[in-house]
Symmetry: C2
Subunit: 400 residues, 2 copies
């Protein structure tokens, strides 16, 4: 019998309890023993809840019980989650978390703390909700030199861009709809400006290179500037616009960014729609692999947390392997990133644009008063310089 405590009885925390209740037969068969939720820490009481008797308000009750070998941290936010996590790991209690803010900010320190105390700090649920991606990176792609990761890591922005694409509506309208459906927060900034995806690609990038990629260092552009006209051009090109987070080895280091990109319909990420997420991983011997699933949601995220609990329970007194050192990785700047750009300029700038950008591929989407084209492959620095010379740029989107 594995006794666990769940910290925070909100969406994910109650999901963890529900998954353990619902799938106890499967979990026991795979683990060889039962998992029991002995405590649920929350400030609130839950009268009438089937797990009412497990609810406690004081973390010390949990720390004082030697039965507890695993804690699920589903509180979110930095504090008190950080303090509780450190204290648990110091006591040799493994922690399984869905808290991407905490993982992105303190992942390597907490992994090291777990290692020195013979327990584990696991975070499958922190990226891609229900998609098993942390475990494949740590346990399955162990023979690979991973060269790049490209993800659709934020369900809110993917939902918004999918419906702008398919329904022809504007950003503000579909954002309101997403908020009404609970797919977007009332304050949507963390999603639409790219902070959430930056945290997630920072975590994946760190696992890719084994050292620490700071999410604050990641170049980021939101999706708020994307318009229905941009999608008209995308359709004319047989493409769509997707919210990508990517990281790449470069000649002299490592690069990561979050931005909307135009993407061909033949790319596997093209078909990742609505609130689904996917992670596309390229390795030097494996080639391309992709992992697809629900990026968020109570039960998918909770299932990922419980899979971490099973992993801890299978390795009592051991640390589940995760290479993520504390040393920070210096990222290459956006200036050096090279791609083709989709550009719209006012119609009177056509000759200037052709002169400055050289050979471009013109795009006609039946929109008057402007000239749109795709550039050759160029660096962001060169592109910005060229735009400065031409002037009259209406919008520009990188292509993938």
């Amino acid at each position: 019998m594995i006794n666990i405590a769940v910290l925070g009885y909100g969406t994910v925390g109650s999901g963890v309890v529900e998954v353990i209740d619902t799938n106890s037969t499967e979990i026991s068969s795979r683990l060889g023993e039962d998992i029991r939720v002995k405590y649920i820490l929350d400030l609130r009481d839950f009268p009438g809840d089937p797990h009412e008797a497990q609810v406690v308000h004081d973390i010390e009750i949990i720390f004082a019980d030697p039965d507890i070998s695993v804690i699920c941290e589903t509180m979110g936010g930095m504090e008190p989650a950080y303090t509780f996590t450190k204290k648990a790991l110091e006591k040799g209690i493994s922690v399984c978390t869905s808290n991407k803010e905490l993982v992105a900010a303190h992942g390597p320190g907490l992994i090291k703390l777990a290692e020195s105390n013979g327990c584990s700090y696991l975070f499958e649920a922190s990226v891609g909700g229900g998609i098993p991606i942390i475990r494949p990176l740590n346990k399955a792609l162990t023979a690979e030199h991973i060269q790049s990761i490209t993800g659709i890591l934020n369900g809110t922005t993917n939902y918004i861009l999918t419906h702008m694409d398919e329904d022809g509506v504007g950003f503000e309208d579909i954002l309101k709809e997403a908020q009404r459906l609970g797919y977007a927060e009332r304050n949507p900034e963390a999603d639409v400006e790219g902070h959430d995806a930056a945290r997630k690609i920072a975590i994946l990038s760190s696992l890719m290179c084994g050292s620490n990629v700071r999410y604050e260092d990641i170049y980021m552009e939101g999706i708020t500037g994307i318009t229905p006209e941009d999608f008209k051009y995308a359709h004319a090109l047989g493409m769509s616009i997707k919210p990508l987070a990517l990281s790449r080895e470069t000649d002299d280091g490592f690069f990561a960014m979050v931005a909307p990109f135009m993407i061909e319909s033949s790319h596997p990420l093209y078909m990742v729609k609505d609130v689904y997420n996917a992670v596309f991983v390229s390795g030097n011997t494996l080639g391309d692999t992709m992992y697809y699933g629900r990026g968020a949601g109570k039960l998918p995220t909770a299932s990922a947390v419980v899979s971490d609990v099973v992993d801890c329970a299978r390795h009592p007194g051991k640390t589940v392997a995760c290479v993520w050192n504390e040393q920070d990785v210096r990222l290459t700047g956006i200036d050096e990133y090279k791609c083709r750009f989709f550009v719209r300029v006012s119609a009177d700038k056509k000759n200037d644009a052709d002169a400055v950008f050289g050979e471009v591929k013109a795009v006609d989407a039946g929109i008057s008063g402007e000239y749109a084209f795709i550039t050759g492959v160029m660096s962001n620095a060169d592109f910005d310089a060229a735009c400065g010379k031409v002037g009259g740029v209406i919008s520009r989107i990188r292509t993938f």
Copy 2:
């Protein structure tokens, strides 16, 4: 230092050695120690090969060396692979294999043998080549009640159907092209008749339900009857035809089959093209996830074998968890499987077909002399009975 032996220096075996050579830095960093190929067993000599000195012709040399803790069985076929595998496991040496025939035929017995000798029998490379799918099922979806698995598990048939779809050519022509490119065997029966996919879905089904699904029990249809005309109708429907292998929980048990299916363009499996494979897994709390990558090929398959070696090396003296009991699962028959059918009958049977099948959706692909339609959801038994009444059936394809 982990000392290993590679049995069979053919395509996959030499790939294993190449992956270990190429990615030694990454592997050592993740494992904390080096992997060394101490022996390569093959009947042939390899003069001039950089690993010439490791080649031995007698398995007993390997078994007599106490340094060897892991063996990669990349020989394929039943014998002597089966005998060598049993003997290794009896000696407590873990075996990592790409040999799907052996896994499908003797998987649960070999897993049990490994368990009783404190070692592991791992087979990530046996399904989906470079796609991590066995490890996600065994280690990541541990909190899930898995309800269905649907895969494109055979690269040859997916290549053939993709090019029939995109280039409008016939089966025989594209089969010859696939043989010329090395994507199909000279005797293509195992691929085009579904035996290869049946073995792979038997392995995945067994892991899904924890008991043994015999591949001989799996209902199977090949792709040899699919014609360019069928694809014309598929296009008219906005669909494609894909070689699917599927397994499902049913009300009274379990069902598995291999056959070509028509599939909507909105389904994630639609975009799995050429020699790529994918496995679509539905769980009760996780929802849908999908795993995509190269289904075969020297280095992808070898990378999967080496990831198994790393897994064994991380668990010395332990058995890596895998629930696959020897008890056989009784499969529901094809008669009870329900779906919509795409049907072509000769034009003079239109009235009979409408009378027998009731409400159908007619499909026009500009082909004269016939009448094509999609039925309502019905069982295979009812469908066959209806076809018998109408007569004049030109072709029929299940829809997914």
